[in-house]
Amino acid sequence: MAVATGKSFASRFGVHIAVLIFVAIWTIPTLGILVSSLRDKGQIIASGWWNSFSSSSQTEAGRLPPASAQAEKDGKFVLQGNIFGEGPVRSISAFGVKAAAPTQYPAGTSADLGNGITLQVDADGTFVMSSPKAFEGDRGQRIYYASSAPPKFTTENYKTVLFSEGIGRSFMNSLTVTIPATVIPILIAAFAAYALAWMRFPGRALLIAVIIGLLVVPLQMSLIPLLKLYNGVGSFFGVPSKTYLGIWLAHTGFGLPFAIYLLRSYIAGLPREIMESARIDGASDFEIFVKIVLPLSFPVLASFAIFQFLWVWNDLLVAMVFLGTEADQIVLTAKLNALLGSRGGDWEILTTSAFVTIIVPLIVFFSLQRYFVRGLLAGSVKGG
């Protein structure tokens, strides 16, 4: 691919720009939740995360206290206090009472709201609203203001989700599910792959065909019978039907076709001479497998391990069917899904939780990308 199809400066420049645009589209979404997860909870909803580094004015909305807080002074009814309440004071540049004109009045001036009502908001957030008639209603006046706040970054969100939202516990649950479900299939698949690659026995070709067929069988086909089976086993032995053992075995089963397929094609490609000379030296199949095939297959074993790890860690469907939703069983993906329902608008919780769930795959991915790509190239027909 050394042939440069476009030789002019303009077309080369165009390629750089085009790739830059693609990279931007593919990274900005993830960057968005990373930045947001580190922002102050109030600032997340006050301004877009792309503005989070600038302390330029942001428009916010608030509500003045309800009528019950009013005091009568010199024949006028007065509401006063500070917009920021107990919170940190920022500097207000302008304010308004309509969403369409949130910065209608400069800070420090008195705004005439009609009916003799006036409202003054100072730069430090103190306000005075007065009216010749008593204020009414449980809800205070809606107020908009442009304030400039210094960008505020915090790890508070991480503390919240890890320790009080249950994400920390789910993280442990995910690890509990993932590690055994990654390790167990490897050995089982490796032996089967060796037999299918290097041992002659009747039915071998059929077995290989079955495994390739099973590669693409949708997971959905397995769910109902297995759910029935698990419930049956559970009630027969009087044990819970949703257990870690159950999901370990399920993930093992669903991962096996790909594992055997991937390992077999690699092991079949090992040089025949090595096996034959070992056999002539009197080594049994078992010895050949353990002493020669396993060490030589390390790269493909690593590839499969990464695949299976990512697959199990990121799985939602199997976890929702075979594990419970209690704190001691719910995995990260299921927890995140539950939070989407219960904490729908709380972006500080959602972005932070999402980042916690993707951090482990990202680390695995970046540190072991070479093996991951190799596995991808070798077995791009993964069904599962």
Partner: protein, 337 residues
């Protein structure tokens, strides 16, 4: 929690230890029952032959048992259950299938699935191919590829949160915290609730899967492009072909097989797409797809296994052609050995 970690570690030890013990022990047992050493002549040859008959099955045995329980039996059982009622006890013939094709939600799911199948594999393959070609030409291409590849490591649920944040909607005139609406509003447009827009919301869900899977297509196609013999490209340049002709007439035809593999792999993935729809809309606003509908029926009103199984069978039927094609391809390869 400590108990949980302990039991997980214990399982790894028991699991790995058990596997090793099984394979080692079974192997020893075969050697004991049919000794090939210490016996002479015909007996040794006989025993060696018997060992050769038994040992492969010891090696593939555990895998076969697990595959049978977790995949082969369930496929048959699901087919069986699709002819039964909700609890799986009384035979109802084709009633579930009749229900499915008369059900408005099912038909809408089929329609949506067809749109997903038409758009996502094509978009991923096309974008992946373009990015693979472009990144091959620049010095920082590897870094660019890594970054575009990255979403593949993210779970569908995580990706859904990421994109839900981008699609976030605030009323017009308010500060938009969703990137898409912020851009629209910046250029004077009207912010939209993207995930409930009739019909088009499907496409906003598809974008998530395209975002995840393009990296996959890119990596596979990039490696195929590198396998193209350089002489063919040089010859085309000498003959005066322009870059587009080289791309469409020289490069694409040579990697046709790889494109097919990428396309079918993503097709299978699309048929099973579940997490994205569940987390973004849960099938509301006419965005239902088969896999999510199936999950829904598994638990709806205590669970209707008959209808759930029927929907699974429909998904399976869509996969069968790909399955047959894969097996044929694999057969061809082994014959070539």
């Amino acid at each position: 929690m400590a108990a949980q970690i302990f039991s997980a570690i214990l399982v790894i030890i028991i699991g790995v230890g058990g596997c090793v013990a099984y394979f080692w022990g079974a192997n020893k047992l075969v050697d004991l029952i049919f000794p090939s050493r210490g016996v002479t002549g015909a007996a040794a040859i006989d025993n060696l032959r018997r060992q050769g008959l038994v040992r492969p099955w010891l090696f593939v045995g555990p895998a076969m048992i697990i595959l049978t329980i977790y995949l082969i039996y369930p496929v048959i059982a699901t087919l069986w259950l699709s002819f039964f009622d909700r609890s799986g006890t009384s035979f109802v013939g084709l009633a579930n299938y009749e229900w499915a094709f008369g059900d408005r939600e099912f038909r809408s799911s089929i329609l949506n699935n067809i749109i997903w199948l038409a758009v996502v594999p094509a978009a991923c393959t096309f974008l992946g191919l373009i990015i693979a070609v472009l990144t091959d030409k620049i010095w920082w291409g590897t870094i660019a590829k890594s970054l575009i590849f990255l979403p593949l490591a993210i779970s569908f649920v995580g990706a859904s949160v990421i994109w839900k944040f981008i699609y976030e909607y605030r009323g017009q005139g308010q500060t938009q915290i969703g990137l898409l609406n912020a851009i629209i509003q910046h250029f004077g447009g009207q912010p939209q609730v993207w995930i409930s827009l009739p019909f088009w919301n499907n496409f906003f869900l598809m974008i998530i899967l395209i975002w995840i899977q393009t990296g996959f297509a890119m990596v596979i196609l990039s490696s195929a492009l590198r396998g193209i013999p350089e002489e063919t490209l040089e010859a085309a340049v000498i003959d005066g072909a322009n870059p587009f002709q080289i791309f469409w007439k020289i490069m694409v035809p040579q990697i046709w097989g790889t494109i097919a593999v990428v396309w079918t792999t993503i097709t299978i993935l699309v048929l099973k797409v579940f997490d994205i729809v569940l987390t973004m809309t849960n099938g509301q606003w006419n965005s239902q797809v088969l896999a999510n509908l199936m999950f829904d029926w598994m638990f709806r009103g205590g669970g209707d296994f008959g209808r759930g199984a029927t929907i699974a069978i429909i998904i399976m039927i869509a996969v069968i052609p790909i399955m047959i094609w894969n097996i044929r391809q694999a057969d061809k390869e082994t014959e070539g050995h």
